[in-house]
Symmetry: C3
Subunit: 200 residues, 3 copies
Amino acid sequence: MHLSYSAIIEILGTIAFAISGAFSAMQKRLDLFGVLVIAFITAIGGGTLRDVLIGNTPVTWMRDVTTPSVILAATIITILFKRYVKNLKVTLFLFDALGLGLFTVIGIQKGLAAGLNQGVCIALGTITGCFGGVLRDILLNLKPVLFHKEIYATACIAGGICYIIGLSLLQQQYAETLSVIVICAVRILAVKYNWKLPVV
Amino acid sequence: MHLSYSAIIEILGTIAFAISGAFSAMQKRLDLFGVLVIAFITAIGGGTLRDVLIGNTPVTWMRDVTTPSVILAATIITILFKRYVKNLKVTLFLFDALGLGLFTVIGIQKGLAAGLNQGVCIALGTITGCFGGVLRDILLNLKPVLFHKEIYATACIAGGICYIIGLSLLQQQYAETLSVIVICAVRILAVKYNWKLPVV
Amino acid sequence: MHLSYSAIIEILGTIAFAISGAFSAMQKRLDLFGVLVIAFITAIGGGTLRDVLIGNTPVTWMRDVTTPSVILAATIITILFKRYVKNLKVTLFLFDALGLGLFTVIGIQKGLAAGLNQGVCIALGTITGCFGGVLRDILLNLKPVLFHKEIYATACIAGGICYIIGLSLLQQQYAETLSVIVICAVRILAVKYNWKLPVV
């Protein structure tokens, strides 16, 4: 199997989201199966909602077992090495930001391929990036991260706008890279400097 | 763009639902983006679930940017004029009832167009009318309005039955109007006189 | 209407799930309509998500009114005879286990018919069996049963693996029966002996 650069990053993003889901579930003292389910939903939630909304069914993870296999492996490793992985918080956060960026770009691309309006595509990319985390929080009975933390979805929107503008000026792979960098940078800076949107 | 009477009312309903979502989110002290997301979900939730259940994808709001534009504008205006809009509670409630009625009829029509059973169509109309509010409440961690307030979904079911019966006796636009009036009237009377279904 | 053995058991499973949903809703003091909605969602939630994920739309319960009719009847009877039905707890639990088993097998079969990977089909069967209960718990603001009780979804996975292996060794109806028995047996023994998966 030849893996493109983009596919490799998507796998890294999937791993990061799976690990983040597994951690949240372990903190809530779920059993083994619960941890696996939450890891799975966190990693595939966004892409699944995207596919359902645009009618791209059976949804992607059902047609390509790479994603389920990666999630299963990532979750088992997280459970086995939980002491060690805990010390990788910064690494995990960076993976999560990278995953957020990549998933957003993939969502936008699928929207454009379906002939949707550019603003709608940015919304679709944001859904792809964020919805897994929202589902995780609803299932664990937490207030969805989307609605109480430092800038999160806004990073996806900013990166999405850069991607759409970038596409009209640059080759696709440069627009992709630019967009992922913008999303990661906004997200990382938002956490570092505690950027928040105003409460109205 | 020529707007039919029905399209105008649908836009008014969308505005009412968006404003109602924005208000609930502001009361929960969400940030700017959170308010926008909740407004959006409240306004498009019902139609989106309906489209997904009957396989009408990409879902409607992705193919016609009128709805997202209207929601965006309504939310921004709500945020800017929040003091003023608060004093419009009765007007908002009437818009909300009107939106509930119109969305229910639209849902039933899409079900009939898909060749579904009439009882199923009434369920589909009720889902279209009510689900946005249910999603809003789940995301804001409130007990869903559907399950604790005065008569709500029951108004949709009553209006839906009137629509199905009306179709066999009247021209379509009269059946539509009758059904919307019934839903609005039941809803308004239920709130005015605190009608509740029995708890079992 | 000629009903196959499988269709009869599916109806029994639907009844069991509807009754279980109606009971949970009555314990939460919902009104008449709320009880009906929760009964409905508990009974059709799993199959609906399955159909949406594989693109089998309009979803099954919209095309065949047997299921809605059965749920309506089961809920009304539950409400009317609530004192009596309460004394049938063991019977209900057995129906629920039977429903879980049958719904899981039906989910796997629909996945195989759609040409999906066997592991994905087991996941799809588990979703079909369990998701109605998860939705019920989210709507009633309970911690999802999936994540805090004795073995539940794990029974579906065990039975699903038996079904896939059984298909390569036995005739389809024997593999079906074996799988349903395994799921019921694991579920019943798990409750009887308080089997739990380890918390990690």
